[in-house]
Symmetry: C2
Protein backbone atom coordinates (compact mmCIF):
# COMPACT_ATOMS: atom_id res chain seq x y z
CA UNK A 1 0.00 0.00 0.00
CA UNK A 2 1.58 3.26 -0.94
CA UNK A 3 1.11 6.85 0.16
CA UNK A 4 -0.87 5.64 3.14
CA UNK A 5 -0.01 8.86 4.93
CA UNK A 6 -1.86 11.04 2.45
CA UNK A 7 -5.31 12.34 3.17
CA UNK A 8 -6.51 10.95 -0.16
CA UNK A 9 -5.46 7.39 0.73
CA UNK A 10 -7.07 7.65 4.14
CA UNK A 11 -10.31 8.60 2.44
CA UNK A 12 -10.13 5.59 0.08
CA UNK A 13 -9.31 3.23 2.96
CA UNK A 14 -12.11 4.63 5.13
CA UNK A 15 -14.62 4.15 2.34
CA UNK A 16 -13.23 0.65 1.72
CA UNK A 17 -13.58 -0.21 5.44
CA UNK A 18 -17.16 1.05 5.51
CA UNK A 19 -18.16 -1.26 2.64
CA UNK A 20 -16.10 -4.14 4.08
CA UNK A 21 -18.00 -3.88 7.37
CA UNK A 22 -21.24 -3.91 5.43
CA UNK A 23 -20.10 -7.09 3.61
CA UNK A 24 -18.99 -8.67 6.90
CA UNK A 25 -22.46 -8.10 8.38
CA UNK A 26 -24.05 -9.68 5.29
CA UNK A 27 -21.73 -12.71 5.51
CA UNK A 28 -22.61 -13.11 9.21
CA UNK A 29 -26.34 -12.88 8.47
CA UNK A 30 -25.99 -15.68 5.93
CA UNK A 31 -23.51 -17.80 7.96
CA UNK A 32 -20.92 -17.48 5.20
CA UNK A 33 -17.23 -18.06 5.89
CA UNK A 34 -15.30 -15.59 3.75
CA UNK A 35 -11.52 -15.99 3.38
CA UNK A 36 -9.13 -13.56 1.67
CA UNK A 37 -6.11 -15.40 0.20
CA UNK A 38 -3.01 -13.27 -0.39
CA UNK A 39 0.46 -14.04 -1.77
CA UNK A 40 3.19 -12.92 -4.14
CA UNK A 41 2.70 -13.77 -7.83
CA UNK A 42 3.33 -17.46 -8.49
CA UNK A 43 3.18 -18.68 -4.88
CA UNK A 44 0.53 -21.22 -5.81
CA UNK A 45 -2.82 -19.77 -4.67
CA UNK A 46 -4.73 -21.11 -7.68
CA UNK A 47 -3.17 -24.58 -7.45
CA UNK A 48 -4.02 -24.69 -3.74
CA UNK A 49 -7.62 -23.83 -4.61
CA UNK A 50 -7.65 -26.51 -7.35
CA UNK A 51 -6.58 -29.15 -4.80
CA UNK A 52 -9.18 -27.78 -2.39
CA UNK A 53 -12.08 -27.85 -4.85
CA UNK A 54 -11.28 -31.34 -6.12
CA UNK A 55 -11.22 -32.61 -2.51
CA UNK A 56 -14.58 -31.15 -1.44
CA UNK A 57 -17.82 -33.11 -1.63
CA UNK A 58 -19.95 -31.71 -4.50
CA UNK A 59 -22.65 -30.67 -2.04
CA UNK A 60 -20.26 -28.22 -0.35
CA UNK A 61 -21.58 -24.79 -1.18
CA UNK A 62 -18.33 -23.02 -2.05
CA UNK A 63 -18.05 -19.98 -4.29
CA UNK A 64 -14.86 -18.36 -5.54
CA UNK A 65 -13.88 -14.83 -6.57
CA UNK A 66 -10.53 -14.37 -8.30
CA UNK A 67 -8.77 -11.07 -8.91
CA UNK A 68 -6.11 -10.32 -11.50
CA UNK A 69 -4.81 -7.23 -13.24
CA UNK A 70 -5.26 -8.91 -16.61
CA UNK A 71 -6.59 -12.29 -17.87
CA UNK A 72 -9.19 -14.56 -16.29
CA UNK A 73 -6.82 -17.57 -16.45
CA UNK A 74 -7.30 -18.43 -12.78
CA UNK A 75 -11.09 -18.29 -12.97
CA UNK A 76 -11.06 -20.54 -16.05
CA UNK A 77 -8.86 -23.07 -14.21
CA UNK A 78 -11.12 -23.06 -11.15
CA UNK A 79 -14.45 -23.15 -13.02
CA UNK A 80 -13.65 -26.71 -14.15
CA UNK A 81 -14.49 -28.02 -10.68
CA UNK A 82 -18.17 -27.13 -10.99
CA UNK A 83 -18.41 -24.52 -8.26
CA UNK A 84 -19.52 -20.95 -9.04
CA UNK A 85 -16.55 -18.71 -9.90
CA UNK A 86 -16.44 -15.00 -10.67
CA UNK A 87 -13.48 -13.10 -11.96
CA UNK A 88 -12.57 -9.48 -11.29
CA UNK A 89 -10.14 -7.90 -13.75
CA UNK A 90 -8.75 -4.98 -11.80
CA UNK A 91 -7.14 -3.23 -14.77
CA UNK A 92 -4.41 -1.14 -13.20
CA UNK A 93 -5.25 -1.90 -9.56
CA UNK A 94 -2.74 -4.02 -7.66
CA UNK A 95 -5.26 -5.41 -5.15
CA UNK A 96 -8.96 -6.13 -4.68
CA UNK A 97 -11.14 -3.58 -2.88
CA UNK A 98 -14.39 -4.08 -0.98
CA UNK A 99 -16.58 -2.28 -3.57
CA UNK A 100 -15.34 -4.73 -6.25
CA UNK A 101 -16.45 -7.66 -4.05
CA UNK A 102 -19.81 -5.99 -3.41
CA UNK A 103 -20.41 -5.64 -7.17
CA UNK A 104 -19.27 -9.22 -7.89
CA UNK A 105 -21.74 -10.56 -5.32
CA UNK A 106 -24.69 -8.53 -6.60
CA UNK A 107 -26.28 -11.34 -8.64
CA UNK A 108 -25.35 -14.26 -6.38
CA UNK A 109 -27.87 -15.47 -3.80
CA UNK A 110 -25.93 -15.45 -0.53
CA UNK A 111 -28.26 -18.13 0.86
CA UNK A 112 -26.66 -20.56 -1.60
CA UNK A 113 -23.11 -20.02 -0.28
CA UNK A 114 -21.42 -21.48 2.80
CA UNK A 115 -17.80 -20.64 2.00
CA UNK A 116 -16.57 -17.74 -0.14
CA UNK A 117 -12.92 -18.01 -1.14
CA UNK A 118 -11.36 -14.82 -2.52
CA UNK A 119 -8.08 -15.19 -4.41
CA UNK A 120 -6.53 -11.73 -4.33
CA UNK A 121 -4.17 -10.19 -6.92
CA UNK A 122 -0.63 -11.62 -6.66
CA UNK A 123 1.02 -9.00 -4.49
CA UNK A 124 2.45 -9.39 -0.99
CA UNK A 125 2.09 -5.70 -0.15
CA UNK A 126 -1.00 -3.72 -1.09
CA UNK A 127 -3.77 -6.34 -0.62
CA UNK A 128 -2.89 -6.45 3.10
CA UNK A 129 -4.29 -2.93 3.50
CA UNK A 130 -7.73 -3.57 2.00
CA UNK A 131 -10.33 -5.28 4.16
CA UNK A 132 -12.78 -7.23 1.98
CA UNK A 133 -15.15 -8.17 4.81
CA UNK A 134 -13.41 -11.54 5.26
CA UNK A 135 -13.44 -13.61 8.46
CA UNK A 136 -9.71 -14.20 8.03
CA UNK A 137 -6.78 -13.45 5.76
CA UNK A 138 -4.60 -16.34 4.64
CA UNK A 139 -1.04 -15.68 3.50
CA UNK A 140 0.54 -18.13 1.05
CA UNK A 141 4.35 -18.30 0.82
CA UNK A 142 6.15 -20.62 -1.56
CA UNK A 143 9.31 -22.46 -0.55
CA UNK A 144 10.81 -21.23 -3.84
CA UNK A 145 10.76 -17.65 -2.47
CA UNK A 146 12.86 -16.80 0.60
CA UNK A 147 12.57 -17.67 4.28
CA UNK A 148 13.08 -14.00 5.23
CA UNK A 149 9.92 -12.85 3.42
CA UNK A 150 7.89 -12.52 6.66
CA UNK A 151 10.46 -9.97 7.86
CA UNK A 152 10.43 -8.04 4.59
CA UNK A 153 6.64 -7.95 4.15
CA UNK A 154 5.51 -7.71 7.78
CA UNK A 155 1.96 -6.37 7.35
CA UNK A 156 0.39 -9.42 5.73
CA UNK A 157 2.09 -11.85 8.13
CA UNK A 158 0.86 -9.74 11.05
CA UNK A 159 -2.72 -9.66 9.74
CA UNK A 160 -3.11 -13.26 8.53
CA UNK A 161 -4.59 -16.03 10.67
CA UNK A 162 -3.01 -18.83 8.65
CA UNK A 163 0.26 -19.21 6.78
CA UNK A 164 0.22 -21.81 4.01
CA UNK A 165 3.77 -22.77 3.05
CA UNK A 166 3.46 -24.17 -0.48
CA UNK A 167 5.71 -26.11 -2.89
CA UNK A 168 7.35 -28.08 -0.05
CA UNK A 169 8.28 -30.66 -2.73
CA UNK A 170 10.92 -28.14 -3.90
CA UNK A 171 12.68 -28.05 -0.50
CA UNK A 172 15.49 -30.45 -1.58
CA UNK A 173 16.36 -28.13 -4.48
CA UNK A 174 16.20 -24.64 -2.93
CA UNK A 175 17.95 -22.67 -0.18
CA UNK A 176 14.88 -22.28 2.03
CA UNK A 177 14.97 -22.98 5.77
CA UNK A 178 11.34 -23.83 6.51
CA UNK A 179 11.86 -23.63 10.29
CA UNK A 180 13.37 -20.14 9.90
CA UNK A 181 10.43 -19.10 7.68
CA UNK A 182 7.98 -20.16 10.40
CA UNK A 183 10.02 -18.46 13.13
CA UNK A 184 10.14 -15.25 11.08
CA UNK A 185 6.37 -15.44 10.56
CA UNK A 186 5.85 -15.93 14.31
CA UNK A 187 7.97 -12.82 14.97
CA UNK A 188 5.25 -10.90 13.11
CA UNK A 189 2.35 -12.76 14.69
CA UNK A 190 2.70 -15.03 17.69
CA UNK A 191 0.44 -18.04 17.35
CA UNK A 192 -0.03 -17.69 13.58
CA UNK A 193 -1.18 -21.13 12.44
CA UNK A 194 0.91 -22.81 9.74
CA UNK A 195 0.25 -25.63 7.29
CA UNK A 196 2.91 -26.98 4.95
CA UNK A 197 1.53 -28.07 1.61
CA UNK A 198 2.74 -29.70 -1.57
CA UNK A 199 0.06 -29.46 -4.25
CA UNK A 200 2.14 -31.97 -6.26
CA UNK A 201 2.34 -34.77 -3.68
CA UNK A 202 -0.84 -33.61 -1.91
CA UNK A 203 1.03 -33.69 1.41
CA UNK A 204 -0.52 -31.17 3.76
CA UNK A 205 -3.83 -30.88 1.88
CA UNK A 206 -5.64 -32.76 4.69
CA UNK A 207 -4.50 -30.38 7.50
CA UNK A 208 -5.43 -27.41 5.30
CA UNK A 209 -8.94 -28.83 4.73
CA UNK A 210 -9.17 -29.55 8.45
CA UNK A 211 -8.37 -25.88 9.21
CA UNK A 212 -10.98 -24.82 6.64
CA UNK A 213 -13.57 -27.13 8.25
CA UNK A 214 -12.86 -25.73 11.71
CA UNK A 215 -13.28 -22.14 10.46
CA UNK A 216 -16.47 -23.20 8.67
CA UNK A 217 -17.89 -24.76 11.84
CA UNK A 218 -17.16 -21.57 13.78
CA UNK A 219 -19.55 -19.52 11.61
CA UNK A 220 -22.21 -22.24 11.20
CA UNK A 221 -25.20 -21.79 13.54
CA UNK A 222 -25.13 -24.29 16.43
CA UNK A 223 -27.15 -27.48 15.79
CA UNK A 224 -30.71 -27.01 16.95
CA UNK A 225 -30.43 -23.23 17.07
CA UNK A 226 -33.27 -21.33 15.51
CA UNK A 227 -32.10 -19.65 12.29
Amino acid sequence: MHRISSEHEHKILNENSRIAEHLRAHFADHNILCLNIISAPGAGKTTLLERTLESLPPETRVAIITGDIQTDNDAVRLARYGFPVKHITTGGACHLEAPMIERALADWDLDDIDVLLIENVGNLVCPASYDLGEAAKIVVLSCAEGDDKPLKYPAIFFKAELLVLTKTDLLPYVCFDIEAAEQNAHRQRKGLEVVRVSALSREGIAPWLEWLGRKRDAVRPAAGAVA
Copy 2:
Protein backbone atom coordinates in the same frame (compact mmCIF):
# COMPACT_ATOMS: atom_id res chain seq x y z
CA MET B 1 -0.11 0.86 -9.17
CA HIS B 2 -3.56 1.59 -7.86
CA ARG B 3 -6.07 4.39 -8.35
CA ILE B 4 -4.07 5.61 -11.30
CA SER B 5 -7.16 7.33 -12.61
CA SER B 6 -7.44 9.68 -9.67
CA GLU B 7 -6.22 13.24 -9.91
CA HIS B 8 -4.17 12.71 -6.77
CA GLU B 9 -2.23 9.81 -8.31
CA HIS B 10 -1.61 11.75 -11.49
CA LYS B 11 -0.10 14.53 -9.40
CA ILE B 12 2.22 12.09 -7.60
CA LEU B 13 3.26 10.46 -10.89
CA ASN B 14 3.87 13.81 -12.57
CA GLU B 15 6.07 14.95 -9.70
CA ASN B 16 7.87 11.57 -9.80
CA SER B 17 8.46 11.91 -13.55
CA ARG B 18 9.83 15.43 -13.14
CA ILE B 19 12.44 14.25 -10.61
CA ALA B 20 13.17 11.11 -12.67
CA GLU B 21 13.98 13.27 -15.72
CA HIS B 22 16.24 15.37 -13.55
CA LEU B 23 18.05 12.19 -12.39
CA ARG B 24 18.26 10.90 -15.98
CA ALA B 25 19.96 14.13 -17.06
CA HIS B 26 22.43 13.80 -14.16
CA PHE B 27 23.20 10.19 -15.08
CA ALA B 28 23.79 11.22 -18.72
CA ASP B 29 26.10 14.06 -17.66
CA HIS B 30 28.19 11.59 -15.66
CA ASN B 31 28.01 8.71 -18.21
CA ILE B 32 26.31 6.49 -15.63
CA LEU B 33 24.29 3.46 -16.70
CA CYS B 34 21.33 3.21 -14.32
CA LEU B 35 19.20 0.02 -14.32
CA ASN B 36 15.95 -0.53 -12.40
CA ILE B 37 15.49 -4.22 -11.51
CA ILE B 38 11.91 -5.31 -10.81
CA SER B 39 10.34 -8.65 -9.86
CA ALA B 40 7.90 -10.40 -7.56
CA PRO B 41 9.15 -11.19 -4.03
CA GLY B 42 11.57 -14.11 -4.05
CA ALA B 43 12.32 -14.16 -7.80
CA GLY B 44 16.04 -13.94 -7.11
CA LYS B 45 17.02 -10.29 -7.70
CA THR B 46 19.51 -10.21 -4.83
CA THR B 47 21.10 -13.54 -5.76
CA LEU B 48 21.45 -12.36 -9.37
CA LEU B 49 23.21 -9.24 -8.07
CA GLU B 50 25.47 -11.36 -5.84
CA ARG B 51 26.57 -13.43 -8.86
CA THR B 52 27.05 -10.17 -10.80
CA LEU B 53 29.18 -8.44 -8.17
CA GLU B 54 31.39 -11.47 -7.57
CA SER B 55 32.04 -11.71 -11.33
CA LEU B 56 33.03 -8.07 -11.88
CA PRO B 57 36.64 -6.89 -11.77
CA PRO B 58 37.17 -4.89 -8.55
CA GLU B 59 37.98 -1.77 -10.58
CA THR B 60 34.43 -1.75 -12.01
CA ARG B 61 32.77 1.28 -10.54
CA VAL B 62 29.38 -0.19 -9.63
CA ALA B 63 27.06 1.15 -6.95
CA ILE B 64 23.85 -0.45 -5.70
CA ILE B 65 20.63 0.87 -4.17
CA THR B 66 18.24 -1.66 -2.65
CA GLY B 67 14.65 -1.01 -1.62
CA ASP B 68 12.53 -2.96 0.83
CA ILE B 69 9.51 -2.28 2.97
CA GLN B 70 11.33 -3.56 6.03
CA THR B 71 14.84 -4.92 6.80
CA ASP B 72 18.14 -4.13 5.09
CA ASN B 73 18.89 -7.85 4.55
CA ASP B 74 19.56 -7.43 0.82
CA ALA B 75 21.93 -4.51 1.33
CA VAL B 76 23.85 -6.47 3.99
CA ARG B 77 24.18 -9.43 1.57
CA LEU B 78 25.41 -7.20 -1.25
CA ALA B 79 27.79 -5.06 0.84
CA ARG B 80 30.07 -8.11 1.30
CA TYR B 81 31.31 -7.73 -2.26
CA GLY B 82 33.07 -4.44 -1.54
CA PHE B 83 31.03 -2.14 -3.77
CA PRO B 84 29.11 0.84 -2.31
CA VAL B 85 25.55 -0.13 -1.33
CA LYS B 86 22.75 2.03 0.03
CA HIS B 87 19.48 0.76 1.37
CA ILE B 88 16.10 2.48 1.27
CA THR B 89 13.52 1.22 3.75
CA THR B 90 10.25 2.36 2.21
CA GLY B 91 8.12 1.77 5.31
CA GLY B 92 4.64 1.31 3.90
CA ALA B 93 5.48 2.05 0.26
CA CYS B 94 5.30 -0.89 -2.14
CA HIS B 95 7.79 0.57 -4.65
CA LEU B 96 10.71 2.99 -4.95
CA GLU B 97 10.07 6.56 -6.13
CA ALA B 98 12.41 9.01 -7.82
CA PRO B 99 12.68 11.37 -4.80
CA MET B 100 13.92 8.42 -2.69
CA ILE B 101 16.69 7.78 -5.25
CA GLU B 102 17.56 11.49 -5.33
CA ARG B 103 17.97 11.53 -1.54
CA ALA B 104 19.98 8.27 -1.53
CA LEU B 105 22.41 9.71 -4.09
CA ALA B 106 22.90 13.03 -2.25
CA ASP B 107 26.20 12.11 -0.59
CA TRP B 108 27.64 9.93 -3.36
CA ASP B 109 30.00 11.50 -5.90
CA LEU B 110 28.47 10.61 -9.27
CA ASP B 111 31.90 10.90 -10.91
CA ASP B 112 32.89 7.74 -9.02
CA ILE B 113 30.08 5.62 -10.51
CA ASP B 114 29.83 3.94 -13.92
CA VAL B 115 26.90 1.59 -13.26
CA LEU B 116 24.09 2.15 -10.77
CA LEU B 117 21.98 -0.95 -10.10
CA ILE B 118 18.66 -0.34 -8.35
CA GLU B 119 16.97 -3.36 -6.79
CA ASN B 120 13.34 -2.32 -6.41
CA VAL B 121 10.84 -3.56 -3.79
CA GLY B 122 9.60 -7.10 -4.55
CA ASN B 123 6.37 -6.34 -6.39
CA LEU B 124 5.46 -7.08 -10.01
CA VAL B 125 2.84 -4.33 -10.19
CA CYS B 126 3.43 -0.88 -8.70
CA PRO B 127 7.19 -0.39 -9.38
CA ALA B 128 6.40 -0.48 -13.12
CA SER B 129 4.62 2.87 -12.81
CA TYR B 130 7.46 4.80 -11.17
CA ASP B 131 10.28 6.04 -13.38
CA LEU B 132 13.52 6.28 -11.38
CA GLY B 133 15.55 7.94 -14.15
CA GLU B 134 16.94 4.58 -15.27
CA ALA B 135 18.27 3.83 -18.76
CA ALA B 136 16.31 0.56 -18.73
CA LYS B 137 14.02 -1.54 -16.60
CA ILE B 138 14.87 -5.22 -16.14
CA VAL B 139 12.14 -7.67 -15.18
CA VAL B 140 13.15 -10.83 -13.33
CA LEU B 141 10.82 -13.85 -13.42
CA SER B 142 11.59 -17.08 -11.61
CA CYS B 143 10.83 -20.47 -13.15
CA ALA B 144 9.18 -21.36 -9.84
CA GLU B 145 6.40 -18.84 -10.57
CA GLY B 146 4.16 -19.37 -13.62
CA ASP B 147 4.71 -19.09 -17.36
CA ASP B 148 1.53 -16.97 -17.71
CA LYS B 149 2.86 -14.16 -15.49
CA PRO B 150 3.70 -11.89 -18.48
CA LEU B 151 -0.01 -12.02 -19.42
CA LYS B 152 -1.19 -11.31 -15.87
CA TYR B 153 1.25 -8.47 -15.15
CA PRO B 154 1.52 -6.85 -18.58
CA ALA B 155 2.86 -3.40 -17.66
CA ILE B 156 6.30 -4.42 -16.45
CA PHE B 157 6.85 -6.83 -19.36
CA PHE B 158 5.84 -4.07 -21.77
CA LYS B 159 8.20 -1.55 -20.20
CA ALA B 160 11.27 -3.74 -19.57
CA GLU B 161 14.17 -4.01 -22.02
CA LEU B 162 15.41 -7.31 -20.63
CA LEU B 163 13.70 -10.33 -19.10
CA VAL B 164 15.91 -12.42 -16.83
CA LEU B 165 14.40 -15.88 -16.31
CA THR B 166 15.92 -17.12 -13.05
CA LYS B 167 16.12 -20.44 -11.19
CA THR B 168 16.33 -22.46 -14.42
CA ASP B 169 17.86 -25.25 -12.31
CA LEU B 170 14.34 -25.83 -10.94
CA LEU B 171 12.86 -26.53 -14.40
CA PRO B 172 12.92 -30.35 -13.97
CA TYR B 173 10.83 -30.03 -10.79
CA VAL B 174 8.18 -27.43 -11.70
CA CYS B 175 5.34 -27.04 -14.21
CA PHE B 176 6.87 -24.12 -16.09
CA ASP B 177 7.07 -24.01 -19.88
CA ILE B 178 10.01 -21.67 -20.47
CA GLU B 179 9.23 -21.32 -24.20
CA ALA B 180 5.64 -20.32 -23.34
CA ALA B 181 6.93 -17.82 -20.77
CA GLU B 182 9.12 -16.17 -23.42
CA GLN B 183 6.29 -16.18 -25.99
CA ASN B 184 3.96 -14.57 -23.43
CA ALA B 185 6.59 -11.93 -22.68
CA HIS B 186 7.01 -11.23 -26.39
CA ARG B 187 3.24 -10.73 -26.69
CA GLN B 188 3.71 -7.78 -24.33
CA ARG B 189 6.87 -6.51 -25.97
CA LYS B 190 8.12 -7.72 -29.32
CA GLY B 191 11.90 -7.98 -29.30
CA LEU B 192 12.23 -8.01 -25.52
CA GLU B 193 15.65 -9.52 -24.88
CA VAL B 194 15.78 -12.61 -22.67
CA VAL B 195 18.52 -14.31 -20.68
CA ARG B 196 18.00 -17.58 -18.81
CA VAL B 197 19.98 -17.79 -15.60
CA SER B 198 20.67 -20.26 -12.85
CA ALA B 199 22.44 -18.55 -9.98
CA LEU B 200 23.12 -22.02 -8.57
CA SER B 201 24.91 -23.52 -11.59
CA ARG B 202 25.97 -20.09 -12.90
CA GLU B 203 24.57 -21.01 -16.31
CA GLY B 204 23.49 -17.84 -18.09
CA ILE B 205 25.56 -15.48 -15.94
CA ALA B 206 27.95 -14.83 -18.87
CA PRO B 207 25.20 -13.72 -21.34
CA TRP B 208 23.73 -11.51 -18.59
CA LEU B 209 27.13 -9.85 -17.99
CA GLU B 210 27.53 -9.50 -21.75
CA TRP B 211 24.17 -7.64 -21.94
CA LEU B 212 25.27 -5.43 -19.04
CA GLY B 213 28.57 -4.68 -20.81
CA ARG B 214 26.77 -3.74 -24.04
CA LYS B 215 24.46 -1.36 -22.18
CA ARG B 216 27.47 0.07 -20.34
CA ASP B 217 29.32 0.69 -23.61
CA ALA B 218 26.29 2.50 -25.02
CA VAL B 219 26.46 5.23 -22.38
CA ARG B 220 30.25 5.45 -22.24
CA PRO B 221 31.68 8.39 -24.19
CA ALA B 222 33.30 7.27 -27.47
CA ALA B 223 37.07 6.68 -27.24
CA GLY B 224 38.95 9.86 -28.05
CA ALA B 225 35.89 12.03 -27.58
CA VAL B 226 36.41 15.20 -25.63
CA ALA B 227 34.63 14.92 -22.28
